[in-house]
């Protein structure tokens, strides 16, 4: 079973040379740490920066330089700042190659829910609805089950949706899965996890074809 860093590590392998990538809050943020050094990648943060760098050194934080999670950041050489209209123009115009975000639920048709629990939690969708409605390559990073042990990969989402039929791939602590017309197609198992364990943790339709390889993390 993977921890959060393991999930981020596995997702980092999906980041290809020349990709512009938008990382959501939480596990996705960690992905930046594991992207290969020998490929060219730029990170976009939807509040208005392209070419986002690591956190600043202590004492060099700038209130005018933050990411979408409101964390202080730095800008790399070749970076640019822009307003929120242009930022979402990039997203809506499909110029961002890969979007990685967390989810509370994903359905086997690619629906995603991650912004609201009626009556309990309403923080808002931020940029997530724009991202999932526009991106063509959306990877969800999340735990396979919630704290109560219930599957987060469902036949249909029970929570209010963030977007419909948009998720392409899911990387969890147990598996890598692709969203297909027929359901979640199992691509890889986490180290030490059996197909049966994944089947037990998946409420939605799970498609298992042939031998399922174990993830290669390095």
């Amino acid at each position: 079973m993977l921890d959060k860093e393991g999930i981020a590590k596995r997702i980092a392998k999906e980041v290809k040379d020349g990709f512009y990538v938008n990382l959501g809050i939480g596990i996705p943020t960690l992905v930046a740490n594991f992207v290969r050094d020998d490929i060219q990648v730029e990170f976009q943060s939807e509040n208005g920066i392209l070419g986002m760098g690591p956190f600043p050194f202590e004492g060099e934080e700038d209130a005018d330089l933050i990411n979408a999670g409101k964390q202080t950041i730095t800008a790399l050489p070749g970076a640019s700042f822009f307003d929120s209209a242009m930022s979402f123009g990039m997203i809506r115009g499909k110029h961002v190659d890969l979007t990685i975000l967390g989810a509370m639920e994903v359905a086997e048709n690619g629906d995603i829910a991650n912004w609201k629990i009626p009556g309990k939690m309403v923080k808002g969708m931020g940029g997530a609805m724009d991202l999932v409605a526009s991106a063509e390559n959306i990877i969800v990073a999340m735990m396979h089950t919630n704290r109560a042990g219930e599957s987060k990969l469902l036949k249909r989402c029970s929570l209010p949706l963030t977007g419909v039929g948009c998720v392409t791939k899911i990387v969890t602590n147990l598996a890598v899965l692709e969203v297909t017309d027929k359901g979640f197609k199992l691509l890889e198992r986490a180290p030490g996890i059996s197909v049966q364990e994944i089947r037990d943790a998946t409420e939605g339709t799970l498609i298992v074809e042939g031998d399922i390889p174990e993830m290669q993390l390095n």
Binding site: D83, A85, G124
Partner: protein, 232 residues
């Protein structure tokens, strides 16, 4: 050159009153119009509608107005940093219209540029699109979203000149440029007010035509919401 300078925040806010709709720039606490917010608190205006991507934190930014129950309705994309906000929302004291961030940006810019409405894919198939017109273009579904209407826009820029030309800094730019000219009156506070000709005309983010009043702001706290650092 048309001069837009006013002497202070009191003059800048001349004409505001209860029940108005305001746009306020900023993302999180970055690039918020601190001087205008302080004055709105001091004036104790009530029954306000505020269009702002976030709602501040409990003791800073729009949180200061929320605490005094000056706001009846918030139009925002993300409000998760503010406990008092959540309390007022869940109790029904505060009306909240949650809008996808890119849609919020586009609806401000549409108001600025005279577009009556825009089509966006964001929110299609979700509760955000409920009751709204949807439409297919090239096989993809879009939601029709109308431009915002507001009485005042409160904007924070880095540098500005007396003609109202503005330059923003870093990610403090965010929604600020989009709100200029998107309300009946646009009030801008700047960290540095300079003479016309001091800013390179090629590097102006927002031309002065979108600005009605500009003033030299003061006492900026520029609070950092989440200080994250790495070790050397």
């Amino acid at each position: 050159m048309i001069k837009k300078t006013v002497d202070n925040v009191q003059d800048a806010l001349d004409g505001v009153h209860d029940g108005m709709t305001f746009m306020l720039g900023g993302f999180g606490l970055s690039g918020i119009p601190e001087n205008a917010i302080s004055e709105l608190v001091r004036l104790n205006l009530k029954n306000l509608t505020c269009i702002s991507n976030n709602a501040g934190v409990d003791d800073f930014g729009l949180g200061l107005l929320l605490r005094k129950k000056q706001i009846d309705k918030m139009i925002s994309s993300y409000v998760g940093e503010n406990a008092e906000f959540e309390r007022q929302m869940l109790s029904g004291e505060l009306d909240v219209e949650l809008t996808p961030q890119g849609t919020l940006a586009a609806k401000c810019q549409a108001a600025q540029q005279g577009f009556p409405a825009i089509f966006t894919p964001a929110g299609y198939g979700t509760e955000v699109a409920e009751g709204k017109e949807t439409r297919e273009f090239d096989g993809k579904m879009y939601v029709l979203e109308e431009a915002y209407k507001a009485d005042f826009a409160f904007v924070k820029a880095w540098k500005g000149d007396e003609a109202g030309n503005l330059i923003f800094k870093g990610t403090a730019r965010n929604f600020n440029p989009l709100m200029c000219g998107a309300a009946k009156v646009t009030v801008v506070e700047v960290e540095e007010l300079v003479k016309p000709g001091e800013l390179d005309p090629n590097q102006i983010h927002i031309p002065g035509i979108f600005v009605q009043r500009i003033f030299q702001g003061k006492d900026y706290e520029k609070r950092i919401e989440k200080r994250t650092v790495r070790s050397k």
